[in-house]
Structure formats: C-alpha cells, structure tokens
C-alpha cells in the first residue's frame, strides 16, 4: 500500500504531518471488486427490514469504524469518540425497537405526510418524446416536495429528534450546511419543526453569508421556536462551530446531523432514515408498472436525498443510479460545487471523502445557484459508490438548473427546488439516450417556492 503524507493546515496552525498508511489519495477510477459492496451491510433490499437490521446489528455490536471502502470513518477529536459510540448503540437499538419504529412510522405518515406520491409527469415525458420523434423514456417524479416543510430533510430530522428524546436530551444543536447546518435553511427548518413537535429546545448555527442570502429561512426558524446563532462565514464554518458547541456540551445536547456526512454513525444514520424514500419508490414502481426503474436520478449536494432514493436499488444491477452535482458557473471556472467530478479525497468534518480543496489542503468555497448544493464535501458513501462504479455522476450549471426550474413549472405546474432542478436539468442530456418506454424516476427533493425570487432575478441569457 502506498503511503501518503497528509499535511493538515488550518488558518492558524501547522499540524504535524500524519502518515496515513491505508489510504490512497489519488483520484483513481479503478473499479473495485463488487464483493466489496457486501461488506457494507447493504443487506437485502426487500421489505424484511427487521431481519436485515438484526444482522447488521449483530455485526456491529461493538462500535464499528464506519467505513465504506476507504471512505467514511471517525476523524474526530478523542472527546467525541465515546459520544459517537453511544450514539451508534442507541441507533441500533431504535432500529430494532418496534415501539420506536411504530411511533416513527405514525409521525412520518401523519405529520410529514408520507408516503409521497410517485407521479407520472405526462407533459414532461411528452416534451422529451416530441424532440425525438415520439420516442423516449417515461418520466416519473418522486414527490419529496410534498413532505412537511417542503423537502426530504424532515424524514431524518424527525427520526433523530425522537432519538434525542429517547436519550433523555432536551436540547438539540444542528450545524448549518446544505443539510444540518443550513445553507438553504431546509435542514434548519426541518430540525426546528421536529424540535417544536417534540418539545426540544433547538439551536441552529448558520453562516452570516447564508443568513443574508435567505433571511426568510431565519424568520421561519425563529417562528418555530429555534434560536439561530450566526457564524462568520458560510455553512462550512457553521458546521465546524456547531460541532465545537457539541463538544463543549457533551451529554447535554444532541447534535442533529442533517446530511449523510460527518463522522460515523452520522452518515449511516441519515442514510437509514432517508432510505424510506427508496423503499416507497420500489413499491410504487412495482404497483405502477410491475417492475423497477431503469434509471434513478437525483441531485447531489451532500448526498442525503440521493442516498435516500439510491440505497434501495444499489443491489439491482439493472437500475442506473445517476447523481447530478452543481457545476455552478462551469467546472473549469472554479466556481462550482461538483465534489465528485472535480474533487480529491481528504478528510473533512470527521469523514474521509471526496472534497473540494486547494493545493494546500484548504477547503475551497463552492458555488451554486442552488444554495443547498454548496457543500464542498460529499457523503462518504457516495464517494464509495462512485469509486466502485456503481453510481454515475454528472453536473448541471446554474443556468441549466434555472432553465429546468422554468421548464418544469410551465409543463407540470410544479416548482422544483433549485437543488432538485439540477437533476431535472440533466434530463435534457439523458432522455435522448434512453430507449422508448424506459422508466426514469427523478427525485424532486424539495419545493421551489423559496427560490422564486432567485429565478425571478436570474439574468436570462
């Protein structure tokens, strides 16, 4: 194994060089043996969830390292390790606790409004068929925009708020980012709502730059009873601050990770709670056309909505998994957020994954018109899926995303969030290549009313 010297630099200190013996940090695209997939408890994508979980619980009775191939892990200060281990134990407990599962299921149905429909987008389908002599795929939209609070974030926030209560904690802190922290505000809003519902006190860290961009999110969080604490900078700084806050108040406060990044067990937990999306989708696809989709398309910011819908289909080789990242102003401009396309492997926020860093290992500032895509890292599990070749990833620019927003509004009367619009934008390239009658499922991860003003002000070329 090749070793590589890591050179960590922060703004003020030079940390000593650390030799990482087991990691190759080149962005090699070698295809890993698919048997590697089996190591990671993808289990049996059937409805026998309890059995699957029992198996994985056995395997992980001792706290695990949380690796997906070489990605993931727990790169955190020692003080957090025991906390993470405890969290993992509770997580496995609740997965198998029928009372918890029932309460969660009722809340998901009655409070969040699940299951969300799988909607046949007739006019969008016709639009693409018309461009190709009447032949083209059938497009179905998984309507996560109809969930309470208008995005898929709620699935996870709800479950984790319930875990916090079970652990006897009465305060929750959430970092701000595309997810937990609030870049777009969606995770902050979902967390605030879940905390209100369960009577937990809630503190959300948000970058001042983001607060300026989306002040309405701040208002919403305040209304829901949460305290918003500003951090100089953007969400990545807010994430760091919230983790710092958590470290200070260990045992009093629950850290609610909003997306599938961070140290183990956060990525696994978030993915697990979001995977309800994929399970429903499989069932709905079977009802509607008696089969599985040919392709599943989702936008990738940090990765929670993508993992939520992909996870169920990872073991179906006939299902293409397509992630669409934000190309911002273009991949070569440096102003984008396409982590998987243009990033390198490193450690960020506690996990080894692809990330956008400069030559000195400093995290670069990503850009996208879809604020929720502006995360310079990505879920370690997605990095793994990329490296094993299981997932394809592409990107869409700001302009393409805005155009897609307008197109879907006009053709279907749905305003997709600008983040989700990236996935819709990719249909322009995907549809001409798909055979007639192929089934595409696209995840509409959120609603776009929050983005109306941005689209309004966007200069039309």
């Amino acid at each position: 194994m090749e070793t590589h010297h890591f050179h960590f630099k922060t703004r003020r200190h030079n940390y000593p060089q650390v030799v990482c013996a087991n990691h190759r940090v080149t962005t090699s695209k070698s295809n890993v043996n698919p048997s590697v997939l089996r190591l990671h408890n993808y289990g049996n994508p059937t409805a026998d969830l309890a059995k699957e979980r029992a198996v994985s619980a056995d395997e992980t009775k001792r706290p695990s390292t949380g690796k997906f191939g070489r990605f993931g892990g727990k790169f955190v200060p020692e003080t957090l390790i025991s906390c993470l281990e405890q969290l993992e134990v509770v997580f496995h407990q609740v997965l198998q606790d029928p009372e918890f599962q029932e309460e969660l299921s009722t809340a998901l149905n009655d409070y969040v409004g699940r299951e969300t429909p799988l909607y046949y987008a007739e006019r969008l389908t016709a639009h693409y068929k018309a461009q190709n002599m009447g032949r083209g795929p059938d497009i179905y939209i998984k309507r996560e925009d109809l969930a309470h609070c208008g995005a898929h974030k709620m699935n996870n926030a709800l479950a984790q708020a319930m875990i916090a209560k079970r652990m006897g904690l009465t305060a929750v802190v959430a970092a701000t980012g595309a997810g937990a922290a609030t870049g777009a505000g969606q995770h902050g809003i979902a967390t605030a709502a879940a905390c209100a519902k369960f009577g937990l006190s809630c503190t959300i860290f948000m970058g001042t730059a983001d607060m300026e961009k989306q002040p309405s999110s701040v208002d919403l969080m305040n209304l829901l009873g949460a305290k918003v604490r500003p951090t100089a900078g953007s969400f990545k700084d807010a994430t760091s601050d919230s983790i710092r806050d958590w470290t200070e108040k260990l045992g009093e406060v629950y850290y609610l990770a909003g997306t599938a990044v961070g140290p183990h067990p956060c990525p696994t937990m978030v993915r697990e709670f979001q995977s309800v999306i994929g399970r429903e989708t499989r069932r709905q696809a079977a009802e509607k056309w008696g089969g599985t989709p040919d392709a599943v398309v989702a936008c990738v910011g940090s990765g929670s909505n993508a993992l939520g819908i992909f996870h169920e289909f990872v073991r179906d080789p006939t299902v293409r998994l397509i992630g669409v990242e934000a190309a911002g102003f273009g991949l070569n401009t440096g102003k984008h957020a396409a982590t998987l396309a243009a990033g390198e492997v490193g450690v960020y926020h506690g996990a080894m994954s692809y990330l956008l860093q400069d030559e000195e290992g400093q995290i670069t500032c990503p850009h996208s018109v879809g604020v929720g895509m502006e995360y310079p890292g990505v879920a370690p599990e997605l990095s793994f899926l990329k490296e094993t070749g299981r997932m394809e990833f592409y990107s869409a620019s700001d302009e393409e995303a805005v155009e897609a927003y307008r197109r879907v509004a006009r053709l279907e009367g749905i305003l997709p969030a600008l983040e989700a619009s990236h996935a819709f934008a990719y249909l322009e390239k995907l549809c001409p290549t798909m055979p007639d009658g192929a089934k595409i499922i696209i995840s509409c991860s959120g609603r776009g009313e929050k983005d109306t003003e941005t689209v309004f002000n966007y200069p039309i070329s």
Binding site: D110, G113, R123, H148, D219, L224, A409, E412, V455
Partner: protein
C-alpha cells in the same frame, strides 16, 4: 313575506319574457319607497355602471329575523342542498346577466354527468389502485389523502389541571401541492373544462393563492390561463404574480374600483360573459351563481370523506366537532359536507373579526352582515346603508371577502352550523402558538380557526374529538406575521 315571494318568482321570471316585478313591499315598516326594490339583474334595467359590476348588488333591508338562532329540527338529510334552482333555502340562486345563463346551465349538466361517471369520480380514490381520472390526479399530483394528525402538544396545551380536555386533530390540507385546499377544486374544474372542450381558463385572485392554484393546474393540463388581480394586490404580492407567470399564466391587473379582489371578480365575470363559448371560469370558492357553490363543494368534499374514514380508523368513531375558517367558505364546506346529515357532529365556522367587530374593519359576514346578492348569489354580505359593498379587512387575504357562500348562510339560518369570529391579533397569537407547539406553520386564514380553540376547548368535556381543518400552510404569511409579532 315579500322577500320569499320575490325569491320564488325569480326562476319563473327567467323563462318568461315579460317583466314580473315583485309585489310592492308594504308589509314591513322598515322600507321606504325610496329603497330600490328587490330585483334580479335581468328584470330590472339598472345600468351596469352604478355598482360597477355586471352582477349587481341588491339591497334588502331584511330585518334581523334571519339571524334567529332557533334550531330547525328537521332532518338535514332531507334538506335540498341545493334545490333544482340552485337555492339553499332562500340563499343561492343565479343572479346573472342573460348571457351567462346558458353557460351556467351547460356547466351544471356537464358536472352532473361526470359526477356519476366512474371514470371521473374522486370519492373512492384512496381505497385501491385508482384509474379514475380525478382520483389519480388527486393522489399522485396533489398528494392526497392528506393525514389526520393528532396534535399532541396542542392537546396538552388545552388540557385542564385535572387532566381532562378535548383531543385535537388537524386535517392536513396544508400538505397538498401548492400548500392549500384550493387545488382540489382547481383540479376538478379544469378536468371539467377539458371535458367541455374549453381551451381557455380565467380566474380572479386576491392574495394570489387561488391564482397560483389555477395557474398550476392549467400548466399541468396545458390550458391557456388568465388571472385577474387587483392592481393593489399585485403590488403587495409581486412574488405570487411572478409565480403565476412562471407557471405560464397571464396576469391582468384590474384598476377599477378599489383595485382589489371584488373588482377583480367583476372583471373576470365580465370576461366570461364576453368569451363564454371558449372559456371556463374557475371560481375559487363556494360563492357565485349556481352551479358553482354546489360544484366547488363537491370537489372539496373529499376532505370530509377522508376525515370520516380516518376518524373511524383512529378512534373507531366520528368527530364530535369540526372547526374551519370561513372566508368564502370552501374549505369549511369541504370538511362539513359529509357530516351535515350527522346531527351529533357540531359544525363550527370561524370568520375574521379583523380589527374588531365594532371597528368596521372586519370580514365577519355571517355575524355582522345582511342578506343581499353579490356575484350572482343571494347570501349574507357586508354592505353599507346604500347597499354598496363594504371593503372588508382581515390580516389574512383569504378571509378578506365581503360575502360568504350561500350554503353557509343556509346552515347558519337552520342552526345546523355555528359561526364565530376572531380578531387579527388572536389569529397571530394562534399562528405563533401552533408553530411553536407543533412545528406546523399554519396559514393566517387557518390561524383564525386555531385561535377559536382558545374559547372552545375550556367548554368541552373530556376526550371530545375535535377535528380542525388546517386549510393551508403559512410560509406565505411569515413576513406579515414577523412584522406584527416581532419575533
């Protein structure tokens, strides 16, 4: 009685070409000869411009007799709601210019033919794989059925010190696509319009919610869409205007009158009169001329039907009390309709008292209004001494309507439903309360119903089941609320 005589002669007058004025009003002393007589727009030759509206507002100095609270003990299942003339008791009807009569009749027969058409029906929508056109769209596009959610913390809030109190359930119409119940009706009407071969849809809107719902469904079905909006409202709601344009609709500003909702409605009706062959007018509420009140109610009654089934699943019974806010009255009728015949279910509507009933700045039509004709139907409405419509006020745009659906007037008169009202301030308090207790931000309209719980719950015995229609979400109201609440 003079009024009733006039009312029953209206339909026959329609078919006869001779003018048949009602008998001179001599019985009631509150009339003077200077009062304009009760009349239909057809038989009186009142020029349009006097009231600035093709559908004229007539004045009936009706004494307080109609506000009697004597309950009618007859079986609600036997009431004609409406009868063949579109009347609910004496309310309702079709007070429209002759040019529109044909369109209304055509609409009514089209609606009746689809109502019983299994390919169109909604009511069985959620039971199994649905092929019915409307049911399928409601399920996959709108996101029905909406949950009946047990509001645990809200219930705790109203629990009395001895541990007793009602159980509060929220019917989550806020989870629908576009965030309100409005879309149920918009979808139904657009499907109907398509069946009629209409290619052009028009609608009026106040704050923009109904406009957005209409533009949404027109985009979905590829129909041309024109929304009339008061110029003043357009300024206040520029984001909604942009949304409608994004969805492909044309938004036309109305500058006449006070440039608000009622003027937009009149303009829309004027357009419809002109283009009746190609155009369908999507009215947003259970107001307007027959068959609209009935049609809109039918498209919304899925709310109550689902509630009945969900209540049975959840506690094996019916709700004891249904509460809903009332502007035009569509969400309330949607929830109430299936339960009107169940006399053991209390129906409570909550209107907007604005700045207070005595301030003159409110929209409490059923509490403070009088009977007259507005926008084609006889109902309660807010009018001044000259019979001119009073500009209503409420912090919530959706309740800001000076009239109310005729069926609500009827239910009030029969004593079947009770109507109360709540001020702006109480509504804002409820807005904040529910956000903090349940993490659900309700629309300001809905907040009126939620505010009424403060007065209602202390009077209820233990374990009473209260179902409140959470008719819309409040994201659109956050800026307004923040201004007033200084959160």
């Amino acid at each position: 009685m003079a009024i009733r005589a006039a009312a029953t002669s209206a339909p026959t007058a329609r078919s006869s070409s001779a003018l048949s004025l009602p008998p001179p009003i001599s019985s009631s002393s509150s009339y003077s000869s200077a009062q304009l007589s009760f009349g239909r727009a057809k038989s009186t030759t009142r020029p349009r411009t006097t009231v600035g509206c093709a559908i004229s507002c007539t004045m009936t100095r009706e004494a307080a007799a109609v506000t009697s609270t004597e309950k009618d003990d007859s079986d609600p299942a036997l009431w004609s709601r409406p009868d063949s003339f579109g009347r609910f008791g004496k309310f309702g009807g079709k007070y429209v210019p002759e040019t529109l009569m044909y369109a209304l009749t055509e609409l009514e027969s089209a609606f009746n033919s689809v109502k019983n058409d299994p390919d169109f029906q909604a009511s069985k929508l959620c039971i199994s794989a649905v092929k019915a056109e409307l049911g399928g769209i409601l399920k996959d596009y709108v996101g029905r059925e909406t949950p009946l959610y047990f509001a645990e913390r809200l219930t705790d809030h109203y629990r009395r010190p001895n541990g007793e109190g009602p159980h509060i359930y929220l019917k989550r119409e806020d989870l629908n696509h576009t965030g309100a119940h409005k879309i149920n009706n918009a979808i139904g009407q657009v499907l109907l319009a398509k069946r009629l071969g209409k290619k052009r849809i028009i609608a009026e809107t106040g704050a923009g919610q109904h406009g957005v719902a209409t533009a949404t469904v027109c985009a979905r079905f590829g129909l041309e869409c024109i929304i009339y909006m008061g110029a003043q409202d357009m300024e206040r709601q520029s984001l909604n205007v942009f949304r409608m344009r994004l969805l492909g609709a044309e938004v036309r500003g109305v500058h006449s009158g006070t440039a608000t909702l009622k003027d937009a409605t009149s303009e829309a009706i004027r357009d419809w009169v002109t283009n009746v062959e190609s155009t369908h007018y999507i009215l947003g509420s259970v107001a307007g001329p027959h068959p609209y009140p009935m049609m809109v109610r039918e498209f919304h009654k899925v709310i109550g039907e689902e509630t009945r089934r969900q209540a049975m699943e959840k506690w094996g019974g019916k709700p004891d009390i249904l509460v809903a806010c009332v502007g035009g009255g569509s969400n309330a009728m949607g929830l109430f309709e299936d339960f009107v015949k169940d006399k053991d279910v209390r129906l409570i509507g909550v209107e907007a008292a604005g700045l207070g009933l005595d301030s003159g700045k409110h929209a409490a039509t059923l509490t403070k209004g009088e009977v007259g004709v507005l926008h084609g139907a006889m109902s309660y409405l807010l009018q001044d001494d000259d019979g001119q419509i009073i500009e209503p006020h409420s912090i919530s745009a959706g309740l800001d309507y000076p009239g109310v659906g005729p069926e609500h007037s009827f239910l009030k008169e029969k004593g079947r439903a009770e109507y109360y009202c709540v001020t702006d301030e109480e509504a804002l308090e409820a807005f904040k309360r529910v956000s903090r207790l349940e993490g659900i931000i309700p629309a300001l309209e809905t907040s009126h119903a939620l505010a009424y719980l403060e007065k209602l719950c202390p009077t209820l015995p233990d374990k009473t089941k209260v179902v409140l229609n959470c008719s819309g979400r409040g994201d659109k109201d956050v800026q307004t609320a923040i201004k007033y609440l200084k959160v």
